[in-house]
């Protein structure tokens, strides 16, 4: 679906139509990030009472938390797997809490999967959402072959656990290879970026 600057309501409505355990590719524009965040986390996951595991490889979990606070979004059910704060900002284990788990580096894709698996098992919620933000950022640190293998194993595992998966990609930074890789593992695609 191609929609010009899809708003948060529309994004949430699109996601709500997807069956459980779906894997969704959500391509956005850089300018559209806040709408996507609101649509996915607030209007979709929070409204449905889902626990959300948010894998952040683009900006730190602290920065996203500040964005969520500014948008007045409830973060009590959002759990971060932060792949960049340790390696890029020297965050220590002391900065981890019940809602934030650090992965040493975005190249440690197995550890990323293990942290997601841990949070899935710890969650008491019936419905779970895993957001990967973003495939483009992970592609900076990993080659396409290993990234493709990672996505395949991760999404298959999440599907078997009946978790909902959303893979974010940034239109301006995507390549045909990355798009193909995401399309291969996703059941549905939503374009929330600029009209192309």
């Amino acid at each position: 679906m191609t929609l010009d600057q899809m708003g948060p309501q529309k994004i949430a409505a699109e996601l709500s139509e997807m069956p459980p355990a779906s894997a969704i590719s959500l391509q956005m524009s850089v300018d559209n990030y806040l709408d996507v965040i609101r649509g996915v986390l607030d209007l979709f996951a929070n409204k449905k009472g889902m626990d959300t595991i948010y894998v952040t490889a683009t900006i730190s979990s602290e920065a996203i938390k500040r964005v969520l606070q500014a948008l007045d979004i409830d973060t009590s059910r959002i759990y971060f797997v932060d792949c960049i704060s340790h390696i890029m900002m020297g965050a220590s284990a002391a900065q981890q809490d019940d809602h934030t788990t650090l992965v040493e580096s975005p190249t440690m894709l197995e550890n990323l999967m293990l942290k997601v698996e841990y949070l899935i098992r710890r969650s008491q919620s019936k419905d779970k959402l895993v957001v990967i933000d973003s495939i483009n950022s992970l592609a900076i640190h990993n080659n396409n072959w290993i990234l493709s293998e990672f996505l395949h194993i991760l999404v298959s595992g999440l599907r078997s656990r009946e978790a909902f998966t959303i893979i974010l990609s940034v239109e301006e930074h995507s390549t045909p290879e990355i798009n193909n890789m995401v399309n291969l593992v996703c059941d549905h695609g939503i374009r929330a970026g600029k009209e192309g």
Binding site: E104, S105, T107, M108, L109, E110, N111, M113, L114, K115, E117, Y118, R121, R122, N143, W145, I146, L147, S148, E149, F150, I153, G157
Partner: protein, 249 residues
């Protein structure tokens, strides 16, 4: 589920990933060498195997050789599923081998052949007395240091393995090897005698250090031979396949 003809009864470890690798668990009464260098998670994995057993009503025994059990328990991962009442009820028992040595009068640096028989009998008696179905000895390497020669080590492990197998006890012998070692055991004997070998290691890939697990052999069952990456978490040991795209080998 009823077993197919010829298929051996399983001792499900309770570690989901490992049981999948082993097609259902360790064949019951096998003696398995769980080996690796320091800091790879051997003790945590072995302990979790016992906790899951005790939870299922199987009496479980941890024989600590290098570290006293009080210290071990103080440093245990705060497992969400670990209930201390398992210890109070006697389902999960910790014994320090140095105390057994003392009681058996084994004070010399090297054990004689007679003392080896005595030690095997003492461990077997304890297993019988406690009705133990799962046993961990951590570490067998430390015991071997008191045996010195390959002959004595072979004799000890063979006799111990036979005795425990007869008692229908599934055993994990924790082994220590140096990080550079290409062998699965310090003395080269333990690996040949054990029914199974599970290798835990640290693997470096592009500067990242990953904890890995690989089942090298397991008599009595088919098993995966692939390498897995593991994490020690309060929910227990978690495993995911090593991504081949990044393999250094």
């Amino acid at each position: 589920m009823p077993l197919k003809t010829g298929e051996r009864d399983r001792c499900a470890t309770g570690l989901e990933g490992l049981d999948t690798i082993l097609y259902g668990g360790i064949p019951r009464s096998n003696t398995v060498l769980l080996t690796g260098s320091c800091g790879t998670g051997k003790t945590s994995l072995a302990l979790e195997f016992l906790i899951h057993g005790a939870q299922k009503g199987e009496n479980s025994l941890f024989v600590s050789v290098t570290e006293n059990s009080e210290k071990l328990l103080a440093n245990i991962i705060p497992y969400k599923f670990f209930d201390k009442s398992l210890i109070k009820s006697g389902r999960l028992v910790f014994v320090d081998l140095p105390i057994m040595y003392e009681r058996l009068g084994m004070t010399k640096a090297e054990l004689s052949m007679e003392e080896i028989d005595l030690l095997v009998a003492a461990i077997s008696d304890l297993v019988t007395e406690l009705g133990t179905k799962r046993l961990v000895i951590d570490s067998i390497t430390s015991v071997c240091y008191k045996l010195k020669t390959s002959e004595k080590i072979r004799d000890f492990i063979l006799k111990l393995g036979k005795s425990l197998s007869d008692l229908n006890c599934t055993t994990i012998l924790v082994g220590e090897v140096s990080a550079e070692s290409t062998s699965y055991s310090s003395f080269g004997v333990e690996e040949a005698i054990a029914d199974g070998i599970v290798l835990m290691a640290n693997m470096e890939r592009r500067g990242d250090l990953l904890r890995t697990l690989q089942v090298i052999k397991m008599r009595g069952t088919m098993h995966s031979r692939a390498k897995y990456v593991l994490d020690l978490t309060p929910m227990g040991v978690l495993l995911v396949p090593l991504l081949k795209g990044g393999s250094t080998a």
